[in-house]
Subunit: 138 residues, 2 copies
DNA sequence: TCCTACATTGGACAATGTCTAAGTCAAGAA
DNA sequence: TTCTTGACTTAGACATTGTCCAATGTAGGA
């Protein structure tokens, strides 16, 4: 994730304590926090960080293509730092847990020309839903 | 859509003017209104209908499997009456327009067992994003 | 027609996200 | 190093979307 900070500095980002902490919170695999979860974790390291800054920073990371925005349930958006590896999502309908998954076909090529309705299609996301092992036990 | 009303009555639904109007608003192809859009359209025919009733009715239709809930952008959920025909969605990133599309592969079978992480997977949705012809012109 | 359980209403409340004005600070210039 | 400036942060007001509740209304069976 320090790679990330270097890349961003190279793009003219001013490097502040707040941005550094947000980037650190997002470091890891299968990380899919909501903005408020990021804020809570960032506050542990930098208590005075404001909600607005977290929202701003997440928005910038998304625009820069470093983080993906995932909205699985119409509740809070989640932020996925794994933006440089093509993947999809598996979501537990009960507890909301998300896993990154890799699939064996190319869904983009599965959409026939006549079904594109003249759209310039640039992106596809596949979301699987089900019950995770934890919730299945309960 | 009157089929729908019959089906619901058969399931013990009490048939009220409000529910009838909501069902009428949802009639049609490529209909993907937000709850507030449904409310606005329903209000044209039944001015005193309340927001709460629209939300309640939409929620019930979803539970009954007659309408699908679609959250494409983390903004308001949209309601898709085309629940009995398997399909996916093509969304314009600029104006939010949605089209129903049919694809040529089965995305469910594209998720290998080891990528299921012990989940009981029951559902898959594929969302294509791009620019619609209208927005491309502008 | 009458009853009653179910449906509707309006408004308060909750969750998430956006915006603004004022204060603060990172980083280049001198 | 210190100065300067425009970008960044902050707190809190506000907006949007959705949920809940107590009071009232009504569909449909008896």
């Amino acid at each position: 994730m320090s790679d990330l900070l270097e890349r961003l500095r190279g793009r003219g980002w001013r490097l502040t304590a707040q941005r550094r902490v947000v980037a650190e919170v997002l470091d890891g695999d299968h990380v899919h926090y909501t903005a408020d979860e990021v804020h809570a974790r960032a506050s542990e390291r930098l208590p005075e960080i404001s909600r607005a800054t977290v929202y701003n920073t997440l928005g910038e990371l998304v625009l820069l293509g470093e983080v993906l925005e995932v909205s699985t349930d119409g509740r809070a958006k989640r932020y996925d730092p794994n933006a440089h590896h093509d993947h999809h999502h598996l979501v537990c309908s009960q507890c909301g847990t998300i896993r990154d998954v890799h699939i064996e076909s190319d869904p983009m090529s599965a959409l026939p020309e006549p079904e594109r309705f003249g759209f310039e299609v640039s992106e596809v996301s596949v979301t699987y839903r089900g019950t995770c092992p934890n919730c299945a036990r309960a």
